[in-house]
Symmetry: C2
Protein backbone atom coordinates (compact mmCIF):
# COMPACT_ATOMS: atom_id res chain seq x y z
CA UNK A 1 0.00 0.00 0.00
CA UNK A 2 1.22 3.44 -0.95
CA UNK A 3 0.49 6.38 1.32
CA UNK A 4 0.67 9.97 0.10
CA UNK A 5 0.78 13.08 2.28
CA UNK A 6 -1.08 15.79 0.38
CA UNK A 7 -2.11 19.39 0.37
CA UNK A 8 -4.47 20.90 -2.17
CA UNK A 9 -2.05 21.85 -4.93
CA UNK A 10 0.88 20.00 -6.49
CA UNK A 11 0.29 16.63 -4.91
CA UNK A 12 -3.13 16.07 -6.52
CA UNK A 13 -1.37 16.12 -9.91
CA UNK A 14 0.89 13.32 -8.70
CA UNK A 15 -2.20 11.49 -7.42
CA UNK A 16 -3.56 11.57 -10.98
CA UNK A 17 -0.45 9.69 -12.07
CA UNK A 18 -0.44 7.24 -9.15
CA UNK A 19 -4.10 6.31 -9.67
CA UNK A 20 -3.29 5.24 -13.24
CA UNK A 21 -0.50 2.85 -12.19
CA UNK A 22 -1.84 1.50 -8.87
CA UNK A 23 -4.99 -0.40 -7.93
CA UNK A 24 -7.24 2.20 -6.29
CA UNK A 25 -7.38 0.11 -3.09
CA UNK A 26 -3.58 0.32 -2.81
CA UNK A 27 -3.58 4.10 -2.56
CA UNK A 28 -4.20 6.05 0.66
CA UNK A 29 -4.09 9.83 0.80
CA UNK A 30 -3.49 11.58 4.10
CA UNK A 31 -4.70 15.13 3.71
CA UNK A 32 -3.81 18.38 5.41
CA UNK A 33 -6.73 19.96 7.29
CA UNK A 34 -4.99 22.97 8.84
CA UNK A 35 -6.93 26.21 8.31
CA UNK A 36 -10.16 24.33 7.53
CA UNK A 37 -12.89 26.80 8.34
CA UNK A 38 -16.42 28.04 7.71
CA UNK A 39 -17.09 30.35 4.76
CA UNK A 40 -20.54 31.51 3.63
CA UNK A 41 -22.08 29.27 6.26
CA UNK A 42 -20.45 26.07 5.01
CA UNK A 43 -17.48 24.08 6.27
CA UNK A 44 -14.61 24.28 3.81
CA UNK A 45 -11.96 21.58 3.97
CA UNK A 46 -10.25 22.77 0.83
CA UNK A 47 -7.46 20.23 0.46
CA UNK A 48 -9.72 17.28 1.21
CA UNK A 49 -12.19 18.34 -1.44
CA UNK A 50 -9.47 18.79 -4.05
CA UNK A 51 -8.12 15.31 -3.29
CA UNK A 52 -11.63 13.82 -3.36
CA UNK A 53 -12.54 15.48 -6.66
CA UNK A 54 -9.18 14.44 -8.12
CA UNK A 55 -9.74 10.79 -7.20
CA UNK A 56 -13.30 10.97 -8.60
CA UNK A 57 -12.06 12.56 -11.88
CA UNK A 58 -14.20 15.59 -11.08
CA UNK A 59 -11.53 18.16 -10.31
CA UNK A 60 -11.50 21.47 -12.14
CA UNK A 61 -7.96 21.31 -13.55
CA UNK A 62 -7.98 24.93 -14.62
CA UNK A 63 -7.97 26.17 -11.02
CA UNK A 64 -7.17 22.95 -9.11
CA UNK A 65 -10.13 23.86 -7.01
CA UNK A 66 -13.82 22.89 -7.23
CA UNK A 67 -15.66 20.66 -9.69
CA UNK A 68 -15.10 20.80 -13.43
CA UNK A 69 -18.06 22.24 -15.34
CA UNK A 70 -19.61 23.56 -12.13
CA UNK A 71 -21.93 26.57 -12.26
CA UNK A 72 -21.75 29.59 -9.95
CA UNK A 73 -25.37 30.70 -9.74
CA UNK A 74 -25.46 31.19 -5.97
CA UNK A 75 -22.03 32.82 -5.98
CA UNK A 76 -23.02 35.19 -8.77
CA UNK A 77 -26.31 36.10 -7.13
CA UNK A 78 -24.49 36.81 -3.86
CA UNK A 79 -22.33 39.26 -5.79
CA UNK A 80 -25.41 40.71 -7.50
CA UNK A 81 -27.10 41.40 -4.15
CA UNK A 82 -23.97 43.09 -2.85
CA UNK A 83 -22.56 40.29 -0.72
CA UNK A 84 -19.64 38.78 -2.66
CA UNK A 85 -18.21 35.56 -1.23
CA UNK A 86 -14.66 35.67 0.15
CA UNK A 87 -14.24 32.24 -1.39
CA UNK A 88 -15.81 31.52 -4.78
CA UNK A 89 -17.85 28.31 -4.31
CA UNK A 90 -19.54 26.50 -7.21
CA UNK A 91 -23.09 25.17 -6.97
CA UNK A 92 -22.19 21.46 -6.97
CA UNK A 93 -19.10 22.07 -4.87
CA UNK A 94 -21.32 23.90 -2.37
CA UNK A 95 -23.48 20.77 -2.05
CA UNK A 96 -20.40 18.76 -0.93
CA UNK A 97 -19.60 21.45 1.61
CA UNK A 98 -23.22 21.69 2.81
CA UNK A 99 -23.26 17.94 3.45
CA UNK A 100 -20.09 18.26 5.53
CA UNK A 101 -21.63 21.17 7.44
CA UNK A 102 -24.86 19.30 8.18
CA UNK A 103 -23.13 16.10 9.21
CA UNK A 104 -20.61 17.94 11.42
CA UNK A 105 -23.55 19.60 13.18
CA UNK A 106 -25.06 16.14 13.63
CA UNK A 107 -21.92 14.94 15.39
CA UNK A 108 -20.13 12.99 12.65
CA UNK A 109 -16.35 13.37 12.58
CA UNK A 110 -14.68 14.80 9.50
CA UNK A 111 -13.15 11.35 8.83
CA UNK A 112 -16.57 9.72 8.91
CA UNK A 113 -18.01 12.35 6.59
CA UNK A 114 -15.16 12.01 4.10
CA UNK A 115 -15.66 8.24 4.16
CA UNK A 116 -19.38 8.69 3.36
CA UNK A 117 -18.69 11.20 0.61
CA UNK A 118 -15.90 9.28 -1.09
CA UNK A 119 -17.98 6.09 -1.04
CA UNK A 120 -20.83 7.97 -2.69
CA UNK A 121 -18.39 9.06 -5.39
CA UNK A 122 -17.18 5.45 -5.83
CA UNK A 123 -13.66 6.26 -4.70
CA UNK A 124 -11.90 3.06 -3.61
CA UNK A 125 -8.73 4.74 -2.33
CA UNK A 126 -8.62 5.90 1.27
CA UNK A 127 -8.86 9.62 2.03
CA UNK A 128 -7.76 10.35 5.58
CA UNK A 129 -7.97 13.81 7.12
CA UNK A 130 -4.85 14.35 9.23
CA UNK A 131 -7.10 15.26 12.18
CA UNK A 132 -10.77 15.47 13.05
CA UNK A 133 -10.04 18.54 15.14
CA UNK A 134 -9.75 21.94 13.48
CA UNK A 135 -6.37 23.59 13.73
CA UNK A 136 -4.55 26.61 12.48
CA UNK A 137 -1.14 28.01 11.74
CA UNK A 138 0.30 30.76 13.94
CA UNK A 139 3.16 32.88 12.65
CA UNK A 140 5.51 34.03 15.40
CA UNK A 141 6.93 37.37 14.25
CA UNK A 142 8.92 40.28 15.61
CA UNK A 143 5.61 42.06 16.23
CA UNK A 144 4.02 39.10 18.02
CA UNK A 145 2.09 35.93 17.16
CA UNK A 146 -0.20 36.38 14.15
CA UNK A 147 -2.96 34.33 12.59
CA UNK A 148 -1.92 32.86 9.25
CA UNK A 149 -4.38 34.89 7.20
CA UNK A 150 -3.67 38.01 9.22
CA UNK A 151 0.05 37.67 8.44
CA UNK A 152 -0.60 36.79 4.81
CA UNK A 153 -3.23 39.38 3.92
CA UNK A 154 -3.45 42.17 6.51
CA UNK A 155 0.29 42.31 7.19
CA UNK A 156 1.32 41.43 3.60
CA UNK A 157 3.97 39.00 4.94
CA UNK A 158 6.04 41.99 6.05
CA UNK A 159 6.87 41.20 9.72
CA UNK A 160 10.02 39.17 10.33
CA UNK A 161 9.08 35.51 10.84
CA UNK A 162 10.69 33.85 13.86
CA UNK A 163 8.76 30.61 13.83
CA UNK A 164 5.73 28.83 12.39
CA UNK A 165 3.61 26.97 14.92
CA UNK A 166 0.90 24.44 14.18
CA UNK A 167 -1.93 23.81 16.68
CA UNK A 168 -1.47 20.67 18.65
CA UNK A 169 -4.30 18.46 17.40
CA UNK A 170 -4.72 14.72 17.78
CA UNK A 171 -4.30 12.44 14.74
CA UNK A 172 -7.48 11.14 13.18
CA UNK A 173 -8.20 7.52 14.07
CA UNK A 174 -6.73 5.97 10.95
CA UNK A 175 -3.77 8.28 10.44
CA UNK A 176 -0.94 6.47 12.25
CA UNK A 177 -2.17 3.01 11.31
CA UNK A 178 -2.32 3.95 7.64
CA UNK A 179 1.29 5.12 7.69
CA UNK A 180 2.35 1.97 9.57
CA UNK A 181 0.66 -0.29 7.03
CA UNK A 182 2.24 1.45 4.04
CA UNK A 183 5.05 0.04 1.92
CA UNK A 184 6.05 3.55 0.93
CA UNK A 185 5.13 7.02 2.11
CA UNK A 186 5.27 9.87 -0.39
CA UNK A 187 5.55 13.48 0.78
CA UNK A 188 3.83 15.07 -2.19
CA UNK A 189 5.02 18.25 -3.93
CA UNK A 190 2.69 20.49 -1.90
CA UNK A 191 3.62 23.59 0.05
CA UNK A 192 5.94 22.24 2.77
CA UNK A 193 5.03 24.94 5.32
CA UNK A 194 1.27 25.11 4.94
CA UNK A 195 0.44 21.56 3.82
CA UNK A 196 3.08 18.91 4.56
CA UNK A 197 4.61 20.15 7.83
CA UNK A 198 1.16 20.45 9.50
CA UNK A 199 0.74 16.70 8.88
CA UNK A 200 4.29 15.86 9.98
CA UNK A 201 3.82 17.88 13.17
CA UNK A 202 0.89 15.73 14.34
CA UNK A 203 1.84 13.62 17.35
CA UNK A 204 3.07 10.17 16.30
CA UNK A 205 3.58 10.91 12.61
CA UNK A 206 7.36 11.47 12.73
CA UNK A 207 7.77 8.30 14.81
CA UNK A 208 5.59 6.29 12.39
CA UNK A 209 7.69 7.50 9.45
CA UNK A 210 11.00 6.38 11.02
CA UNK A 211 10.80 2.77 9.85
CA UNK A 212 9.14 3.60 6.54
CA UNK A 213 10.54 4.07 3.06
CA UNK A 214 9.81 7.77 2.56
CA UNK A 215 10.09 9.64 -0.73
CA UNK A 216 9.64 13.39 -0.93
CA UNK A 217 8.97 15.11 -4.23
CA UNK A 218 10.36 18.64 -4.25
CA UNK A 219 7.69 21.34 -4.58
CA UNK A 220 10.44 23.62 -5.84
CA UNK A 221 12.16 23.58 -9.20
CA UNK A 222 15.12 25.94 -9.53
CA UNK A 223 14.37 28.73 -7.09
CA UNK A 224 10.63 28.87 -7.74
CA UNK A 225 7.97 27.30 -5.57
CA UNK A 226 5.29 25.84 -7.81
CA UNK A 227 2.62 27.90 -6.03
CA UNK A 228 1.72 29.92 -2.96
CA UNK A 229 3.71 31.64 -0.25
CA UNK A 230 6.02 28.68 0.45
CA UNK A 231 9.04 30.72 -0.58
CA UNK A 232 8.45 33.55 1.86
CA UNK A 233 8.01 31.18 4.77
CA UNK A 234 10.99 29.01 3.83
CA UNK A 235 13.14 32.10 3.56
CA UNK A 236 11.87 33.48 6.84
CA UNK A 237 12.56 30.19 8.58
CA UNK A 238 16.13 30.16 7.28
CA UNK A 239 15.69 27.67 4.45
CA UNK A 240 17.00 28.37 0.98
CA UNK A 241 14.19 28.53 -1.58
CA UNK A 242 15.50 25.61 -3.62
CA UNK A 243 15.57 21.81 -3.54
CA UNK A 244 18.46 22.26 -1.06
CA UNK A 245 16.08 24.04 1.34
CA UNK A 246 13.54 21.27 0.84
CA UNK A 247 16.26 18.71 1.60
CA UNK A 248 17.09 20.55 4.83
CA UNK A 249 13.43 20.62 5.86
CA UNK A 250 12.77 16.96 5.18
CA UNK A 251 16.22 15.47 5.94
CA UNK A 252 15.10 13.75 9.15
CA UNK A 253 12.27 11.90 7.41
CA UNK A 254 13.18 10.94 3.87
CA UNK A 255 15.03 8.13 2.17
CA UNK A 256 14.77 9.83 -1.20
CA UNK A 257 14.29 13.38 -2.37
CA UNK A 258 13.08 13.56 -5.97
CA UNK A 259 14.10 16.71 -7.83
CA UNK A 260 13.68 17.97 -11.36
CA UNK A 261 16.14 17.34 -14.20
CA UNK A 262 16.78 21.09 -14.26
CA UNK A 263 18.30 20.82 -10.77
CA UNK A 264 20.61 17.89 -11.47
CA UNK A 265 23.65 20.03 -10.60
CA UNK A 266 22.44 20.04 -7.00
CA UNK A 267 22.69 16.27 -6.60
CA UNK A 268 26.18 16.23 -5.05
CA UNK A 269 25.26 18.92 -2.54
CA UNK A 270 21.95 17.21 -1.75
CA UNK A 271 23.65 13.88 -1.11
CA UNK A 272 25.32 15.53 1.91
CA UNK A 273 21.86 16.36 3.24
CA UNK A 274 19.53 13.45 2.37
CA UNK A 275 20.35 9.74 1.92
CA UNK A 276 19.35 9.52 -1.73
CA UNK A 277 18.36 11.81 -4.57
CA UNK A 278 16.16 10.92 -7.52
CA UNK A 279 16.32 13.06 -10.65
CA UNK A 280 13.53 13.09 -13.22
CA UNK A 281 10.94 15.37 -14.83
CA UNK A 282 8.70 16.61 -11.98
CA UNK A 283 7.00 19.39 -13.96
CA UNK A 284 3.68 17.53 -14.33
CA UNK A 285 2.34 19.27 -17.41
CA UNK A 286 0.63 16.23 -18.91
CA UNK A 287 -0.90 12.95 -17.74
CA UNK A 288 2.02 11.08 -19.33
CA UNK A 289 4.52 13.01 -17.23
CA UNK A 290 2.38 12.41 -14.12
CA UNK A 291 2.34 8.67 -14.84
CA UNK A 292 6.09 8.61 -15.54
CA UNK A 293 6.79 10.42 -12.27
CA UNK A 294 4.49 7.99 -10.40
CA UNK A 295 6.35 5.01 -11.91
CA UNK A 296 9.74 6.62 -11.18
CA UNK A 297 8.79 7.05 -7.50
CA UNK A 298 7.35 3.53 -7.13
CA UNK A 299 10.49 2.07 -8.73
CA UNK A 300 12.77 3.71 -6.13
CA UNK A 301 12.02 0.93 -3.66
CA UNK A 302 12.62 -1.96 -6.04
CA UNK B 1 -49.33 54.69 5.71
CA UNK B 2 -50.79 51.22 5.55
CA UNK B 3 -49.32 48.48 7.70
CA UNK B 4 -49.88 44.80 6.94
CA UNK B 5 -49.24 41.90 9.33
CA UNK B 6 -48.10 39.00 7.19
CA UNK B 7 -47.08 35.38 7.17
CA UNK B 8 -45.66 33.59 4.14
CA UNK B 9 -48.85 32.44 2.44
CA UNK B 10 -52.12 34.21 1.74
CA UNK B 11 -51.08 37.69 2.74
CA UNK B 12 -48.37 38.03 0.05
CA UNK B 13 -51.15 37.73 -2.55
CA UNK B 14 -52.91 40.67 -0.94
CA UNK B 15 -49.58 42.54 -0.91
CA UNK B 16 -49.46 42.11 -4.70
CA UNK B 17 -52.77 43.95 -4.87
CA UNK B 18 -51.84 46.64 -2.37
CA UNK B 19 -48.56 47.45 -4.15
CA UNK B 20 -50.49 48.21 -7.32
CA UNK B 21 -52.79 50.75 -5.66
CA UNK B 22 -50.47 52.36 -3.09
CA UNK B 23 -47.21 54.26 -3.40
CA UNK B 24 -44.53 51.77 -2.34
CA UNK B 25 -43.36 54.14 0.41
CA UNK B 26 -46.87 54.04 1.95
CA UNK B 27 -46.77 50.30 2.54
CA UNK B 28 -45.12 48.64 5.54
CA UNK B 29 -45.15 44.89 6.06
CA UNK B 30 -44.62 43.46 9.53
CA UNK B 31 -43.57 39.87 9.09
CA UNK B 32 -43.83 36.81 11.28
CA UNK B 33 -40.46 35.33 12.25
CA UNK B 34 -41.56 32.51 14.56
CA UNK B 35 -39.88 29.20 13.73
CA UNK B 36 -37.09 30.92 11.77
CA UNK B 37 -34.21 28.47 11.86
CA UNK B 38 -31.07 27.09 10.23
CA UNK B 39 -31.37 24.53 7.44
CA UNK B 40 -28.46 23.21 5.36
CA UNK B 41 -26.17 25.66 7.13
CA UNK B 42 -28.17 28.75 6.19
CA UNK B 43 -30.59 30.90 8.16
CA UNK B 44 -34.10 30.53 6.80
CA UNK B 45 -36.58 33.29 7.56
CA UNK B 46 -39.20 31.85 5.28
CA UNK B 47 -41.98 34.41 5.60
CA UNK B 48 -39.62 37.37 5.31
CA UNK B 49 -38.13 36.02 2.10
CA UNK B 50 -41.56 35.39 0.57
CA UNK B 51 -42.62 38.96 1.39
CA UNK B 52 -39.34 40.35 0.07
CA UNK B 53 -39.54 38.39 -3.19
CA UNK B 54 -43.21 39.38 -3.57
CA UNK B 55 -42.40 43.08 -3.23
CA UNK B 56 -39.49 42.69 -5.70
CA UNK B 57 -41.72 40.85 -8.21
CA UNK B 58 -39.41 37.85 -7.90
CA UNK B 59 -41.67 35.41 -6.06
CA UNK B 60 -42.27 31.95 -7.46
CA UNK B 61 -46.06 32.07 -7.65
CA UNK B 62 -46.38 28.36 -8.32
CA UNK B 63 -45.20 27.45 -4.81
CA UNK B 64 -45.35 30.84 -3.08
CA UNK B 65 -41.86 30.07 -1.97
CA UNK B 66 -38.46 30.93 -3.47
CA UNK B 67 -37.53 32.88 -6.58
CA UNK B 68 -39.28 32.43 -9.92
CA UNK B 69 -37.10 30.76 -12.53
CA UNK B 70 -34.57 29.69 -9.89
CA UNK B 71 -32.38 26.64 -10.51
CA UNK B 72 -31.76 23.85 -8.00
CA UNK B 73 -28.24 22.71 -8.88
CA UNK B 74 -26.93 22.55 -5.31
CA UNK B 75 -30.16 21.00 -4.05
CA UNK B 76 -30.09 18.36 -6.80
CA UNK B 77 -26.43 17.55 -6.25
CA UNK B 78 -27.07 17.16 -2.52
CA UNK B 79 -29.70 14.59 -3.38
CA UNK B 80 -27.31 12.94 -5.88
CA UNK B 81 -24.61 12.52 -3.21
CA UNK B 82 -27.13 11.02 -0.80
CA UNK B 83 -27.81 14.02 1.41
CA UNK B 84 -31.22 15.40 0.39
CA UNK B 85 -32.18 18.74 1.91
CA UNK B 86 -35.08 18.82 4.37
CA UNK B 87 -36.02 22.13 2.77
CA UNK B 88 -35.66 22.51 -1.01
CA UNK B 89 -33.63 25.70 -1.53
CA UNK B 90 -33.01 27.21 -4.97
CA UNK B 91 -29.58 28.50 -6.02
CA UNK B 92 -30.48 32.21 -6.07
CA UNK B 93 -32.71 31.83 -3.03
CA UNK B 94 -29.78 30.22 -1.24
CA UNK B 95 -27.68 33.32 -1.92
CA UNK B 96 -30.22 35.48 -0.06
CA UNK B 97 -30.13 33.04 2.84
CA UNK B 98 -26.31 32.85 2.82
CA UNK B 99 -26.12 36.64 3.05
CA UNK B 100 -28.43 36.58 6.08
CA UNK B 101 -26.32 33.82 7.65
CA UNK B 102 -23.04 35.68 7.12
CA UNK B 103 -24.37 39.00 8.36
CA UNK B 104 -26.00 37.43 11.42
CA UNK B 105 -22.64 35.87 12.28
CA UNK B 106 -21.09 39.32 11.89
CA UNK B 107 -23.51 40.74 14.46
CA UNK B 108 -26.11 42.48 12.28
CA UNK B 109 -29.70 42.18 13.50
CA UNK B 110 -32.26 40.50 11.27
CA UNK B 111 -33.97 43.90 10.81
CA UNK B 112 -30.72 45.46 9.62
CA UNK B 113 -30.09 42.60 7.22
CA UNK B 114 -33.60 42.77 5.78
CA UNK B 115 -33.14 46.52 5.31
CA UNK B 116 -29.88 45.93 3.39
CA UNK B 117 -31.40 43.19 1.25
CA UNK B 118 -34.62 45.00 0.39
CA UNK B 119 -32.67 48.14 -0.55
CA UNK B 120 -30.48 46.06 -2.85
CA UNK B 121 -33.66 44.78 -4.49
CA UNK B 122 -34.97 48.35 -4.86
CA UNK B 123 -37.92 47.73 -2.58
CA UNK B 124 -39.26 51.05 -1.27
CA UNK B 125 -41.82 49.56 1.12
CA UNK B 126 -40.76 48.75 4.66
CA UNK B 127 -40.24 45.10 5.64
CA UNK B 128 -40.13 44.73 9.41
CA UNK B 129 -39.39 41.41 11.12
CA UNK B 130 -41.64 41.14 14.17
CA UNK B 131 -38.56 40.46 16.30
CA UNK B 132 -34.81 40.25 15.94
CA UNK B 133 -34.78 37.39 18.42
CA UNK B 134 -35.56 33.86 17.28
CA UNK B 135 -38.67 32.31 18.76
CA UNK B 136 -40.78 29.23 18.46
CA UNK B 137 -44.25 27.86 19.01
CA UNK B 138 -44.89 25.38 21.79
CA UNK B 139 -47.99 23.20 21.71
CA UNK B 140 -49.31 22.37 25.16
CA UNK B 141 -51.00 18.96 24.84
CA UNK B 142 -52.42 16.24 27.03
CA UNK B 143 -49.08 14.44 26.73
CA UNK B 144 -47.01 17.51 27.59
CA UNK B 145 -45.50 20.54 25.87
CA UNK B 146 -44.31 19.77 22.35
CA UNK B 147 -42.22 21.61 19.79
CA UNK B 148 -44.28 22.80 16.88
CA UNK B 149 -42.63 20.53 14.31
CA UNK B 150 -42.63 17.61 16.73
CA UNK B 151 -46.39 17.98 17.15
CA UNK B 152 -46.96 18.54 13.45
CA UNK B 153 -44.76 15.80 12.00
CA UNK B 154 -43.70 13.24 14.63
CA UNK B 155 -47.01 13.25 16.47
CA UNK B 156 -49.15 13.84 13.36
CA UNK B 157 -51.22 16.46 15.25
CA UNK B 158 -52.79 13.64 17.27
CA UNK B 159 -52.40 14.75 20.91
CA UNK B 160 -55.18 16.93 22.33
CA UNK B 161 -54.14 20.58 22.16
CA UNK B 162 -54.70 22.55 25.37
CA UNK B 163 -52.90 25.72 24.43
CA UNK B 164 -50.51 27.27 21.91
CA UNK B 165 -47.70 29.31 23.44
CA UNK B 166 -45.40 31.69 21.62
CA UNK B 167 -41.92 32.46 22.98
CA UNK B 168 -41.72 35.77 24.71
CA UNK B 169 -39.48 37.79 22.40
CA UNK B 170 -39.00 41.55 22.27
CA UNK B 171 -40.39 43.56 19.34
CA UNK B 172 -37.89 44.62 16.71
CA UNK B 173 -36.95 48.30 16.99
CA UNK B 174 -39.37 49.59 14.37
CA UNK B 175 -42.33 47.32 15.07
CA UNK B 176 -44.41 49.35 17.53
CA UNK B 177 -43.58 52.70 15.92
CA UNK B 178 -44.64 51.41 12.52
CA UNK B 179 -48.01 50.35 13.85
CA UNK B 180 -48.42 53.67 15.66
CA UNK B 181 -47.66 55.65 12.50
CA UNK B 182 -50.12 53.68 10.38
CA UNK B 183 -53.48 54.96 9.19
CA UNK B 184 -54.72 51.41 8.88
CA UNK B 185 -53.45 48.03 10.03
CA UNK B 186 -54.39 44.98 7.98
CA UNK B 187 -54.23 41.49 9.51
CA UNK B 188 -53.57 39.60 6.29
CA UNK B 189 -55.23 36.30 5.36
CA UNK B 190 -52.34 34.20 6.71
CA UNK B 191 -52.57 31.32 9.14
CA UNK B 192 -53.88 32.96 12.32
CA UNK B 193 -52.19 30.50 14.68
CA UNK B 194 -48.74 30.19 13.12
CA UNK B 195 -48.36 33.60 11.46
CA UNK B 196 -50.63 36.37 12.76
CA UNK B 197 -51.00 35.47 16.47
CA UNK B 198 -47.19 35.24 16.93
CA UNK B 199 -47.02 38.90 15.86
CA UNK B 200 -50.03 39.92 17.97
CA UNK B 201 -48.54 38.20 21.02
CA UNK B 202 -45.39 40.36 20.97
CA UNK B 203 -45.34 42.77 23.90
CA UNK B 204 -46.86 46.13 22.98
CA UNK B 205 -48.55 45.07 19.75
CA UNK B 206 -52.06 44.63 21.14
CA UNK B 207 -51.79 47.99 22.93
CA UNK B 208 -50.54 49.70 19.77
CA UNK B 209 -53.47 48.29 17.80
CA UNK B 210 -56.07 49.65 20.25
CA UNK B 211 -56.31 53.12 18.74
CA UNK B 212 -55.82 51.95 15.17
CA UNK B 213 -58.28 51.18 12.42
CA UNK B 214 -57.73 47.45 12.04
CA UNK B 215 -59.05 45.30 9.20
CA UNK B 216 -58.66 41.53 9.21
CA UNK B 217 -59.09 39.50 6.05
CA UNK B 218 -60.39 36.03 6.81
CA UNK B 219 -57.95 33.24 5.89
CA UNK B 220 -60.95 30.92 5.82
CA UNK B 221 -63.66 30.70 3.19
CA UNK B 222 -66.54 28.39 4.08
CA UNK B 223 -65.01 25.82 6.39
CA UNK B 224 -61.70 25.52 4.57
CA UNK B 225 -58.50 27.25 5.57
CA UNK B 226 -56.71 28.41 2.44
CA UNK B 227 -53.61 26.44 3.45
CA UNK B 228 -51.75 24.70 6.26
CA UNK B 229 -52.73 23.28 9.63
CA UNK B 230 -54.68 26.34 10.77
CA UNK B 231 -57.87 24.30 10.97
CA UNK B 232 -56.50 21.70 13.36
CA UNK B 233 -55.15 24.32 15.71
CA UNK B 234 -58.28 26.46 15.62
CA UNK B 235 -60.39 23.42 16.35
CA UNK B 236 -58.09 22.30 19.15
CA UNK B 237 -58.20 25.75 20.71
CA UNK B 238 -61.99 25.75 20.62
CA UNK B 239 -62.53 27.96 17.60
CA UNK B 240 -64.90 26.99 14.82
CA UNK B 241 -63.06 26.51 11.52
CA UNK B 242 -64.97 29.27 9.75
CA UNK B 243 -65.04 33.06 9.48
CA UNK B 244 -66.98 32.89 12.79
CA UNK B 245 -63.94 31.30 14.44
CA UNK B 246 -61.72 33.96 12.89
CA UNK B 247 -64.06 36.62 14.24
CA UNK B 248 -63.79 35.12 17.73
CA UNK B 249 -60.00 35.04 17.51
CA UNK B 250 -59.62 38.61 16.30
CA UNK B 251 -62.63 40.25 18.01
CA UNK B 252 -60.54 42.22 20.51
CA UNK B 253 -58.43 43.84 17.78
CA UNK B 254 -60.46 44.49 14.67
CA UNK B 255 -62.78 47.19 13.41
CA UNK B 256 -63.63 45.17 10.31
CA UNK B 257 -63.53 41.54 9.37
CA UNK B 258 -63.55 41.00 5.60
CA UNK B 259 -65.08 37.71 4.48
CA UNK B 260 -65.83 36.11 1.14
CA UNK B 261 -69.07 36.54 -0.81
CA UNK B 262 -69.68 32.81 -0.29
CA UNK B 263 -69.97 33.44 3.45
CA UNK B 264 -72.39 36.38 3.28
CA UNK B 265 -75.00 34.38 5.27
CA UNK B 266 -72.66 34.66 8.28
CA UNK B 267 -72.81 38.47 8.38
CA UNK B 268 -75.59 38.74 10.99
CA UNK B 269 -73.89 36.25 13.30
CA UNK B 270 -70.52 37.95 12.80
CA UNK B 271 -71.95 41.36 13.65
CA UNK B 272 -72.52 40.04 17.18
CA UNK B 273 -68.81 39.25 17.39
CA UNK B 274 -66.93 42.02 15.54
CA UNK B 275 -67.88 45.68 15.04
CA UNK B 276 -68.13 45.56 11.25
CA UNK B 277 -68.11 42.99 8.47
CA UNK B 278 -66.99 43.55 4.88
CA UNK B 279 -68.14 41.13 2.20
CA UNK B 280 -66.34 40.81 -1.13
CA UNK B 281 -64.38 38.35 -3.24
CA UNK B 282 -61.35 37.30 -1.18
CA UNK B 283 -60.34 34.32 -3.35
CA UNK B 284 -57.34 36.05 -4.94
CA UNK B 285 -57.06 34.04 -8.10
CA UNK B 286 -55.97 36.88 -10.38
CA UNK B 287 -54.14 40.20 -10.07
CA UNK B 288 -57.44 41.99 -10.79
CA UNK B 289 -59.11 40.32 -7.82
CA UNK B 290 -56.08 41.14 -5.65
CA UNK B 291 -56.30 44.80 -6.68
CA UNK B 292 -60.07 44.88 -6.14
CA UNK B 293 -59.65 43.39 -2.66
CA UNK B 294 -56.90 45.91 -1.87
CA UNK B 295 -59.16 48.79 -2.97
CA UNK B 296 -62.10 47.33 -1.03
CA UNK B 297 -60.02 47.21 2.17
CA UNK B 298 -58.55 50.70 1.71
CA UNK B 299 -62.07 52.10 1.09
CA UNK B 300 -63.35 50.76 4.42
CA UNK B 301 -61.85 53.72 6.25
CA UNK B 302 -63.21 56.42 3.97
Amino acid sequence: MICVLSGGTGTPKLIQGLKEVLDSEDLSIIVNTVENNYFSGVYVSGDIDVVMYTLADMINEEFWYGIKGDTFITNNFLEEIGCPEPLKIGDRDRATKIEKTIRLSEGYTLSEIVEIQKNNLNIKSKIIPMSDVDSDIKIVTDIGELDFHDFLIDKQCEPEVLDVVYSNVPPSNQLIQTIEESDMVILGPSNPITSIMPILSIEGVKEALKNKFVVAVSPIVGTEPVSGPAGKFMNALGYEISPIGIGEMYKDFVDYLVIDNQDKDLVDNLKNIVPNVGVTNIMMKSLDIKIDLAKFILDLKK
